[in-house]
Every structure is written in structure tokens, then in C-alpha cells.
């Protein structure tokens, strides 16, 4: 894999995952601050949404593996 542009693609996918999950976490914190008694609901939904966003990023990394 060294010297392949697929590695750059993987890095970009990781950036996308970082930005996406970071946004999710940030908004979740804001929501918890607004309404602390909803912590349970917000936490569950945050993890669910993070899994979906990470799914997209991991699909991109997988495609980078295939393209080589």
C-alpha cells in the first residue's frame, strides 16, 4: 500500500469521520446542557448516529483497500 494514492483517500475518510462524529458529540453536549434530565435519551441517540456516520467513513476506507 505504500506509495499509493489510496492511502490519501483513507486519510480523507478518517478526516470526514472525525468531523462528523465531532459534530455529533458537540451537539449532544449542547443538548445535555440545555436539558440535563434527558441525558439517557441523548446518549443513546448520539451513539447510534455516531455508528451510522462511522459506517460511511469505514465504507470509504474499505473501498480504498479494494482500489489499492
Amino acid at each position: 500500500m505504500t506509495g499509493s494514492i489510496a492511502a490519501i483517500g483513507m486519510g480523507l475518510a478518517a478526516i470526514g469521520a472525525g468531523i462528523g462524529v465531532g459534530n455529533i458529540g458537540g451537539k449532544a453536549f449542547e443538548a445535555i446542557a440545555r436539558q440535563p434530565e434527558a441525558v439517557g435519551d441523548i446518549r443513546a441517540n448520539m451513539i447510534l448516529t455516531a455508528a451510522l456516520v462511522e459506517g460511511a467513513a469505514l465504507i470509504a476506507i474499505l473501498m480504498a483497500f479494494l482500489v489499492k
Partner: protein, 452 residues
């Protein structure tokens, strides 16, 4: 007091394992080219099952065995991390738990030859050569645990002894694409080998070749095991419910019943609504199957039966979901796809192809998401363990390997903990999205008025 004992046991087993592994690696580095069948890491392996914190040390033990053989048995001391990683997550015809190899039945079909059914122990599995057989039967050989076929039809089709396996990267067609081609040496000449036929069109190696491999491989054996386990679990629970209805849950019911109620209350009813009873068996089966298979793949001792990390398995699950969703789609579902109400005519030209594609893309992303998450987790753990060998240069530098092994085992433990969470989350997300698609397909008309 118990905690002190557990921690000291962990440290003791950890050190003993590292000691044996590094001793082995040093020997291997010194005696390149000598076959060694003795595996002194047997003894700590047995004790591992006693302490539950040594998950990280488990794959290290197996990798220690395997990488040493890569170093010692093949006259090359270089450790290739990506090969080792992919070998440990791929589907093999031999179930190897540490140094023991459990042969599995091979059922192979070649169009010009017919069926060949035999146990993979007939290949004469050689531990020193990393799971390669030293016999060829009917033109099939066992190369690093996978059955491959000799391409040349002049190869003797009976049982013969073969020599060394090698893999070279070669240019195989006029476009200049490079692929790894494996060779087996027999009577001085090298014969090219080909993989089994796969339905992925050569994406992961394969494509349509000369033979089809229907054998009970490691993953199939794992699937049967999980099937038996889950069937026993749920049938015995159902019997308990039938025989004593209305009583408080006991034993394993205390774990499973909240999960079932969770799927019913949080996933099925909000998304599917009133008709959720019809689809509860599917949702529950998907959830518990994916959860059990994910967790089974995380166990480091049992040979790495990585079922959900195979694209084939997840695609089959996605096909099942597609069939259920599309056969249960009512008129409004199909109308939304082909003739979406409430938008001007020219927009329908754009929307309809996208909607038709999404019938296929939604299950495809389901399968890819599960596959990519589980495979990525496994590869990360395997790479962390491989760091030990890369730093130790396969026995040439035991000091660096000692240092790297401390950090790498801790990292591997941490990632394994995350992987447990990911196992549950991916099962939940798969079930949730299935419920969402079923709900979208079986929605009643009054719900649409609110949207449009």
C-alpha cells in the same frame, strides 16, 4: 485480596507468555530454515482461560506461533504485517487453534472433474509451514490453510507429495495489473495455483476459476456452532416461558429478556408501528445472530472465526432484508418509488432513478457497514499485535520486542473493549435500519399526508 491475586496472575501469565514467545522468536531467528514443531507456548495457553483479562495476550500467542513460522520456515526473516493480518481474518479450510489443527471436511466441485469430498487432514497439514499441506489430492493443494487447485491439467490427479509453496506478484494481463500468483513445487517444476471461484468478480482475488469450494470451512463451522448455541438458548428459554408463564425471569432469561423487550419497544414499535408482531422474528433473529457472531469473532483463543467480517455473509443478510422489505411493500411504498406524489413532473425524471437505485443501495450499505466495522476492528487489533514482531524484527531484537509488547498488548486490550461495544452497536444499527425500511414499506396512507 482477590483483585491482587487476579492482577498478579495476569502479570505472571503475561510475562511467561512474552518470555516463551521471545525465546521462540530468538531461536527462529537463529535457525532460519529449520522446522520446529514443538510449541512451548502450549502451557500458558491453557492457563489463559482462567484469567479473563488476557484477551490481548491470546492473539499474541497465536501470532507468535504463526509469525515465527513465517520467519523460520520460509528462509525469509521479514515479517509482513498485512499478510499476517489478512491471514487471520480470512476463511480457511483448517480450524487451527494455536498449534492444533482441526481438519474440516472439504467438498470441492470442479466442472471437468466432479465432486471431491474428503477431510482436509488428507492434505497432511504441516504446522511448520503455516498450515500448508504437503500432499496434493486430485489436483487440489492446501496453501496456508486455503484449498487451491493446480491450473495445469497435466498435474497428476491422484495423491502425491508436493514441496514448497511460494507466492509471487506477477503481471497477469495485458493491462499490466499485478496480482499475487501462488506456486507449488512438485518434482522440480513449479505449478501455478488458482483460488476457488468467488462471486465477487475478482475483487478479493478469485473470480470464476476452475473449481468451486463448498467445503465446511472455519467460518461455516463457526456458524453451525453459533446456530446450535442460539437454538439451544432460545428453545430452552421458550420452554421455561411456556411451562411457568407469568413468573419472574431466572438465569439467562434475565439477560435475554431485556434485550428482546428493548428490540420490541425501542426498535420495532416506533418504526413499524401496529404491525410489528409480524416482523419481530426477523428483527430478533437478525439482532441476536449478528451480536453472537460479532462476539464470537472477537474471542482470540478459538482460532478467529470471523463470520460477520466476510462480505458474503453480510450481503446474504442484506438480500434477506431486501426481499422482506420489497415483498411487504404496499401500494404507497411502490408509488413513492416510481411515481412520487406531490412533486412536479420534470422532477420525477430525476427522483425516480435515484429511488430505484436506493432499493438496492440501502441494503448494500447495510451489509458494507457491518462488514467494514467488524473487519476494521479485527485488522486494528491484529496490526497492534504485529507491532511486536515488527519492532522485534522477528527475533533479531528481543529488547525492542519486549518494550513494544507491553504497549501493544495494552492497546490491543483497549481496542478489544471498543470492539465489544462495536459488536453490540452494529447489531443494533442493522436491526434498527431493517425496522426502518420495513416501516417505510408498510406505512399506511394517513402517515403520508403529514409529509406531503
Amino acid at each position: 485480596m482477590y483483585k491482587v491475586f487476579k492482577n498478579s496472575l495476569f502479570v505472571a501469565i503475561f510475562s511467561v507468555t512474552r518470555l516463551f514467545a521471545q525465546q521462540h522468536a530468538a531461536e527462529m531467528g537463529a535457525n532460519a530454515g529449520q522446522d520446529t514443531l514443538a510449541h512451548s507456548v502450549n502451557i500458558p495457553s491453557g492457563a489463559h482461560s482462567a484469567a479473563e483479562e488476557v484477551h490481548g495476550a491470546g492473539p499474541a500467542v497465536m501470532d507468535a506461533n504463526h509469525a515465527e513460522h513465517a520467519a523460520g520456515g520460509h528462509e525469509e526473516a521479514e515479517f509482513k504485517a498485512d499478510e499476517a493480518a489478512f491471514h487471520h481474518i480470512s476463511d480457511l479450510n483448517v480450524y487451527s487453534i494455536g498449534p492444533w489443527n482441526l481438519p474440516l471436511p472439504c467438498m470441492l466441485y470442479a466442472p471437468n472433474k466432479g465432486w471431491s469430498l474428503f477431510s482436509s487432514s488428507k492434505f497432511g497439514i504441516d504446522n511448520a509451514h503455516h498450515g500448508s499441506g504437503h500432499k496434493a489430492i486430485d489436483g487440489y493443494v492446501l496453501n496456508h490453510g486455503k484449498v487451491m487447485r493446480v491450473k495445469d491439467p497435466n498435474f497428476p490427479q491422484t495423491e502425491v507429495e508436493v514441496g514448497h509453496f511460494s507466492t509471487r506478484e506477477e503481471v497477469i494481463d495485458e493491462k499490466g495489473t499485478k496480482k499475487d500468483v501462488s506456486y507449488v513445487e512438485y518434482n522440480g517444476t513449479e505449478y501455478a495455483l488458482e483460488h476457488q471461484s468467488t462471486a465477487d468478480g475478482g475483487l478479493f482475488g478469485g473470480g470464476i476459476t476452475n473449481f468451486y469450494d463448498f467445503s465446511i470451512t472455519k467460518n461455516v463451522a463457526g456458524m453451525f456452532l453459533i446456530l446450535a448455541l442460539l437454538s439451544w438458548l432460545f428453545l430452552s428459554m421458550a420452554k421455561k416461558y411456556k411451562s411457568a408463564p407469568g413468573t419472574a425471569p431466572t438465569g439467562i432469561q434475565k439477560l435475554i429478556e431485556p434485550l428482546i423487550m428493548f428490540i420490541k419497544e425501542e426498535v420495532a414499535i416506533p418504526f413499524i408501528g401496529a404491525k410489528h408482531e409480524r416482523f419481530m422474528p426477523l428483527l430478533l433473529s437478525l439482532f441476536f445472530l449478528i451480536l453472537a457472531l460479532n462476539l464470537f469473532g472477537q474471542i482470540p483463543f478459538l482460532g478467529g472465526t470471523n463470520v460477520t467480517g466476510n462480505l458474503g455473509f453480510t450481503v446474504v443478510l442484506a438480500i434477506i432484508v431486501t426481499l422482506v422489505v420489497n415483498f411487504n411493500g404496499n401500494k404507497h411504498y411502490w408509488q413513492h418509488i416510481f411515481n412520487m406524489p406531490g412533486i412536479p413532473g420534470w422532477v420525477k425524471f430525476l427522483i425516480t432513478p435515484i429511488e430505484v437505485l436506493s432499493i438496492f443501495i440501502k441494503p448494500l450499505t447495510l451489509s458494507l457497514r457491518l462488514f467494514a466495522n467488524i473487519t476494521a476492528g479485527h485488522i486494528v487489533i491484529l496490526v497492534f499485535i504485529s507491532l511486536i514482531f515488527m519492532f522485534g524484527k522477528s527475533g533479531a531484537n528481543p529488547g525492542a520486542a519486549w518494550g513494544a509488547s507491553v504497549a501493544s498488548v495494552l492497546l490491543a486490550l483497549f481496542i478489544s473493549a471498543i470492539e465489544l461495544l462495536v459488536a453490540f452497536i452494529q447489531a443494533y444499527v442493522f436491526t434498527l435500519l431493517t425496522a426502518s425500511y420495513i416501516g417505510a414499506a408498510t406505512e399506511e396512507h394517513h402517515a403520508h399526508e403529514a409529509e406531503h
